[in-house]
């Protein structure tokens, strides 16, 4: 295919428009705010190296790309392979990916396709030995054939269309077992109780670190800003898991100290925002950033690039291989609040619980233009939240920077209305 950036292709990567997109975002994240936690430096640096300078962050061994949180990473680790989450947030790739998908489709899917079609994809995670594409939304499903057309080896991990029935659960457990068989063919290794246990411990340690970070965000006034947390969870997509966990643990230690010192990361009266809907993926942290630049603070989220990816933990009753694999399968299906499932009660209950336990003032609901499932759930979510006395702002956007001004105005007005409400209440 033709490279739309043919003119700039000759430039070194760090001077390309693509690198500048990431750099601008990162500069805003670091420079627009005072008092960034020193332990965030690890993450700022990681993104600068990976996205702005195009440095390689390849890892040894078999690399398995995943296009959705439904692909069980513990299984991939157990086979000695490394998972890389492919969901992409770059406007540059969104434009390239537009060649593959209809005009009105989701930026995230387009950007992912755009990245996969590029020869020197950023972040540079190395050649993928396999792409696992869980059959979630229609756009991701149809992307399978396109990825295969680009020369990738694609495995469709079959997800049931609903999640509540026992039938769906058993179907999914079988899918996950099949996936283990595929990984065995790919790696030539055997799945054992021991290596799966070690893999699960790896993920579980990361999840515990995430949960600790999550719990720190309950504190009012806030100890950390949402833009930083989104960067942390985004790093989980491609960073080495143990290194990531260590970095998060250091951050947690710092937040514990901040709590002791009575530190405030945002103004005491800053409206506390719960972020939900289409997932913010770096460099598209546009909306969370605008919220915090306008004086709000994102204290919690319900998105598959952060909370939904790391929050729910596995429990195993009997530590035998069969039971462990089934337990993993359950964790990836049952608590999932993805809008592709017919009922969204779980998502609404989750949002209400987060709103309550994080003392949230308002909810911002991001929908990528073209993501129908999130659009369709918007009404029911807004109704449920309003009934509970929580205001919600629905924002339809995409990866293009064009609507930044308009978004800023809307967010500012929303935050202002929250502040007025709060003032009146007291």
């Amino acid at each position: 295919m033709t490279n739309p950036n043919a003119k700039t292709a000759a430039l070194p990567y760090n001077r390309s428009r693509q690198a500048r997109e990431a750099e601008t975002m990162l500069d805003h994240i670091t420079d627009d705010f005072d008092d960034n936690p020193p332990s965030m430096a690890y993450f700022y640096d990681l993104f600068r190296r990976a996205y702005c300078r195009g440095e390689s962050i390849e890892r040894e061994g078999v690399r398995v790309g995943t296009t959705c949180i439904h692909a069980p990473e513990e299984l991939i680790y157990a086979f000695g392979a490394t998972p890389v989450r492919l969901c992409n947030g770059s406007y540059h790739y969104d434009q390239i990916g537009a060649d593959f998908m209809p005009a009105k489709s989701c930026s995230l899917v387009k950007a992912t396709l755009g990245m996969l079609s590029s020869e020197n994809a950023i972040p540079k995670t190395g050649k993928l030995d396999l792409i696992v594409n869980p059959t979630t939304c229609d756009q991701k499903k149809k992307a399978s054939a396109m990825m295969a057309g680009m020369g990738h080896s694609v495995y469709e991990l079959e997800l049931p269309p609903a999640k509540e029935s026992e039938q769906a659960r058993v179907y999914w457990q079988r899918s996950v077992r099949e996936f283990a068989v595929r990984l065995r063919q790919l790696t030539g290794k055997k799945l054992t109780r021991k290596n799966l246990m070690a893999a699960m411990a790896k993920t579980s340690r990361a999840q515990v670190a995430f949960r600790t970070l999550h719990n720190f965000r309950r504190k009012a006034p806030s100890l950390i800003l949402g833009k930083d947390v989104f960067l942390v969870t985004n790093a989980y997509f491609f960073d080495d898991i143990d290194r990531w966990t260590d970095a998060v643990e250091r951050l947690n230690a710092e937040l514990a100290q901040r709590e002791k010192d009575g530190f405030c990361a945002a103004q005491k009266k800053a409206p506390r925002i719960l972020f939900t809907g289409s997932p913010p993926v770096f460099p598209n942290l546009k909306l969370p950033l605008v919220i915090e630049q306008s004086g709000g603070v994102v204290v919690a989220d319900e998105t598959c690039s952060a909370n939904r990816m790391l929050y729910d933990m596995t429990s195993v009753d009997e530590w035998l291989l069969n039971n462990m694999v089934d337990s993993l399968a359950d964790k990836y299906l049952k608590p999932c609040t993805c809008p592709i499932f017919p009922n969204n009660d779980d998502r609404i209950r989750r949002l209400l619980d987060l709103a309550k336990s994080f003392a949230v003032d308002g909810v911002v609901y991001q929908t990528f233009a073209g993501c129908q499932v999130y659009e369709m759930e918007q009404r029911s979510v807004a109704e449920a939240l309003n009934k509970a006395g929580i205001v919600m702002l629905a924002v339809e956007t995409d990866y293009s920077p064009d609507d930044l001004g308009q978004l800023t105005t809307r967010i500012e007005a929303f935050l202002e209305s929250i502040k007025t409400r709060k003032r009146k209440a007291t």
Binding site: A201, R205, R211, M313, V316, W319, D330, R349, D353, K356
Partner: protein, 328 residues
């Protein structure tokens, strides 16, 4: 107080249960040697046929005896005896609710031991499909009805006296528990009459089924237990309760995974606060396996005694994450 609560909520429940069940087993199966007698109205299978060692007797045995009295007697003054008997049984019961099944019942404990053996051998357990589960779940009510109707029929002169205590004749506890005090006499077929032959042969078969069933299926027998059915029918005023706060539940299904009785509602039902199902044995493994603070809890007379917490969950359910070890 807070530290005590944290210690309880962080307890390794499975280990606690192993020791508690063992202690109860010794009390009820060997207590007789120490002249312990908790009476004959106990709400679980402390089998009366274990004559030397028993530390108390299962209520179903005297109940069936009493109901088999001739009708004029049963519906006359003897009814008073039946009612007081039931009253004493009920008082025992409301104290622990179905916790009698999960923590005290010797037959339940034996099944847990067989499960532990299977796990040691690395054999996976079997599961029912939801349909099977629904149908099997009803069997215990049928057994309960028969257990009441047959003795009544004997009293009315319709059945042979050889059918007396019909459930005891087929209950695996009658054959299994006396074995622990070296009494092999119940592992025999009684040839005194046709009815006796039929009932004791059936009993032998069920015991065989019990032993094999418990090996492949966790708490195999408890699905069919008429005592469990009786418990459920009178459980409303019980003091020990299993409660759920549906608002805090993410329906992750961790509790359902842990459930020996495969009760799906424990994970999926977010409406009912009083979540104990008829098959529940109140082992509280679900509470221990729940990662959401306060979503599941055990209360005694409305006081919370054991509650799901994030820290407790991580300690119990996440193996080898090395939180106690120094970080790199």
């Amino acid at each position: 107080m807070k530290r005590l609560k944290d210690a309880i909520d962080g307890v390794d429940l499975n280990r606690f249960r192993i020791w508690f069940q063992l202690a109860m087993f010794v009390l009820l199966v060997y207590g007789g040697y120490l002249a312990i007698n908790l009476g004959n109205h106990l709400p679980m299978f402390a089998c009366g046929f274990n004559q030397e060692g028993r530390g108390g007797i299962c209520y179903l045995m005297p109940l069936q005896h009493q109901l088999a009295r001739p009708w004029p007697q049963l519906f006359g003054m003897a009814s008073l005896g039946v009612l007081t008997g039931f009253g004493i049984f009920w008082l025992w019961f409301i104290f622990l609710n179905k916790g009698w099944c999960g923590y005290v019942c010797p037959l339940g404990t034996i099944q847990d031991w067989i499960t532990a053996l299977r796990r040691r051998l690395g054999v996976r357990y079997a599961r029912y499909t939801q349909d099977q589960f629904r149908h099997l779940s009803r069997v215990k009510y049928v057994l309960l009805a028969l257990m009441i109707l047959i003795p009544l029929g004997i009293g009315g002169g319709w059945f042979s006296r050889d059918m007396g205590t019909p459930f005891c004749l087929i209950c695996p506890a009658r054959m299994v528990l006396p074995l622990f005090t070296g009494d092999l006499s119940h592992l025999t077929v009684d040839f005194s009459s046709k009815t006796a032959v039929a009932m004791t042969v059936l009993g032998m078969l069920i015991t065989g089924l019990f032993l094999t069933g418990a090996f492949v299926k966790k708490r195999f027998f408890c699905f069919f237990c008429p005592m469990s059915a009786l418990h459920y029918l009178i459980s409303r005023p019980a003091l020990l309760k299993l409660r759920k706060d549906g608002d805090k539940c993410t329906r992750c299904g961790d509790c359902y995974r842990a459930c020996d009785m495969e009760i799906k509602a424990i994970a999926d039902d977010v409406k009912n606060a009083d979540i104990m199902a008829d098959d529940c044995i109140l082992c509280l493994k679900c509470v221990a396996a729940c990662p959401e603070p306060g979503a599941l809890k055990a209360t005694f007379a409305t006081i919370t005694i054991f509650e799901s917490t994030e820290a407790g969950f991580i300690k119990r359910c996440q193996k080898g994450i090395g939180l106690d070890q120094p970080k790199r």
